[in-house]
């Protein structure tokens, strides 16, 4: 802020006060808590070794790839419950053409992105045209896409899953984009000087950072930039905050929402591409409940369920908490059955905390 925009009534708000009115505060605090907790409980179990860190970051990254566009959509006041089924569907679209029809992997991946984009467009168009709640429309898509995946897959292959996709993908130029690694050289160097442990055979414990983590960080930064520094971002906030007011001011609310439905569908396709190329298999049941996990991450991240308020950075921390807790429970040897109890409770607490933060922000500062 420049000197011109000073007002004697503008009390110097303390750093803490400013911080307390940020939407992502709850998620950052939660992440710190979770880290401290597992540092104490699981300190010696290897959760915070190089291998352990990459493991939980990979879990976080996959969810975070969904959470960033889901956050934008929720800020615009809409839900997409079809994300999970879309992942299974996208996986089939990659596997069937490659394995059965002999397409090159890059072509089937492109097909998957294109078809999912159209599906997202149809979701958005239906919501905008009918005026029905997106909760209902995409709940329908959730079931339809799952059914379509099962029907198509069994109809063509006679089974509900395919494996051995590595065969076809390992030499494809598109493979490193989704299943590759980056920062291999620095990591080798860090292992040389002893920062990263080595395996028994003398190789570094990790050979690089999985690409999914780059996608996660990249998409979060992109979403944050869109929200805070573009016209489109202003329209997202307005569409969720008060759609009628936005429309009266000439904001293309329908176009904004449809675009965001396309984004969430494309994120599901990206998730599927990474999963299929990393694991080498596709399954019609993939992505089950991912829509809810993404919503949990976004809500922990401080986004308002009713729209108009939130952040992509918060969703990133929400996804981080998710990964740390899931892998932390695994590393400490706690029965993983307790994971869902923990995440559910965490979400409710986060919502309580975030509504407190938001009320603070809305009070005259």
């Amino acid at each position: 802020m420049t000197a011109e925009v000073r007002d004697e009534r503008l009390r110097q708000v303390s750093g803490l006060g400013r911080l307390l009115s940020r939407p992502e505060l709850g998620a950052v605090a939660g992440a710190v808590l979770v880290f401290v907790f597992f540092a104490i409980v699981a300190g010696g179990s290897g959760l915070f070794s190089a291998k352990g860190i990459v493991n939980f970051l990979e879990v976080s990254a996959q969810l975070g790839i969904l959470a960033a566009p889901v956050a934008l959509l929720m800020i615009a006041g809409e839900f997409d419950l079809s994300v999970g089924s879309m992942i299974g569907f996208a996986g089939i679209l990659i596997a069937v053409p490659a394995v059965i029809w002999g397409w090159p992997i890059w072509m089937s991946v492109l097909l998957s992105f294109a078809v999912c984009g159209v599906m997202g467009y149809l979701n958005g168009l239906t919501v905008v045209r009918t005026g029905l709640p997106s909760f209902i429309v995409t709940l329908g898509s959730l079931f339809m896409l799952r059914g379509l995946s099962l029907g198509v897959m069994r109809g063509i292959t006679g089974r509900t899953q395919t494996s051995g996709i590595h065969e076809y993908s390992k030499d494809d130029w598109i493979n490193p984009l989704f299943a590759g690694q980056f920062l291999q050289t620095p990591i080798r160097w860090l292992a040389e000087i002893g920062v990263i442990g080595k395996r028994a055979d003398g190789l570094p414990a990790i050979s690089g950072i999985p690409m999914s983590i780059a996608w996660w960080v990249g998409l979060t930064l992109l979403a944050t930039w869109l929200l805070s520094r573009t016209r489109f971002g202003n329209w997202i906030f307005a569409a969720g905050g008060d759609a009628a007011a936005a429309r009266n001011m000439g904001v293309p609310v329908a176009r904004t929402k449809i675009t965001l439905f396309v984004f969430t569908a494309l994120a599901a396709a990206l998730f599927a591409a990474i999963q299929v190329l990393v694991t080498g298999s596709a399954d019609t049941l993939r992505g089950n409940q991912k829509e809810f996990e993404a919503i949990i991450a976004v809500v922990i991240g401080g986004t308002l369920l009713t729209g108009g308020y939130g952040s992509a950075m918060g969703a990133m921390f929400g996804a981080l908490i998710f990964g740390v807790v899931q892998m932390g429970i695994f590393y400490t040897g706690i029965d993983t059955d307790w994971f869902k109890l923990f995440m559910g409770a965490m979400m409710v607490i986060a919502v309580l905390f975030n509504s407190y933060v938001r009320n603070r922000a809305m009070r005259s500062r």
Partner: protein
Amino acid sequence: MTVPLVELRSVSKYFGKVIALNGVSFDVQPGEVHCLLGDNGAGKSTLIKVLSGVHTPDAGEFLVNGEAASFGSPKETLDRGIATVYQDLALVPLMSVARNFFLGREPTKRVGPLRQFDIDMANRTAFRELRDMGIELRDAEQPVGTLSGGERQCLAIARAIYFGARVLILDEPTSALGVHQASVVLKLIVQSKARGIGVVFISHNVHHAYVVGDRFTILKRGKSSGTYAKNEISRDQLLGLMAGGKELIDLEQEIAKLGNGQPASGPH
């Protein structure tokens, strides 16, 4: 008199069998506040919608700067500098003052290959424009939800002026406000007038209208009861005309009866 910015000549508007407006004439000059007064159902809303391009009149003429005009949509009207500030104000409470100020018309700047929203310019401009109109903000980044009702009204008016309004149509801008808040809005109306903007001030509050108005048109049941300059009519005469003097006298007598005799039955 100069050429009116906007003029309606014997305009009528029908909705099926209902005659919402019947031969109403109305005009606004540059630098003038023309008050449109009337009770609920008098046709004020219909007249606003004709002026703002939502409805096209079924009979009569619509002139802008002395030339016949017809508008297909509110957007076209707005492009000709006729801006309407409705009661809902078209503000998003959770968004900052600056983001609301530029909602739908965000300034952009080039950053490398990208066009991005110039948030600094938006903050600076919103703050300066509002200050120039006598609205002291604490911070252009504060959410609109933290503003008072009067400040919100002023923000909506300032926004319309900044984006080139030459005619401002204000729909009940003071009706939901307390005395102090209303006076802030009334001051802004006088300022707009001083800038040469023609203001159409719709109200059913004669007290507010009389303070700032130059001329007054009273609507009753879809018809105009005449247009009066301020020096032709007193506040009480205006009040009588608007509410229907007879109705007020009847009401007074009824209330007097209630006070004298029978105790009121029940809480209502």
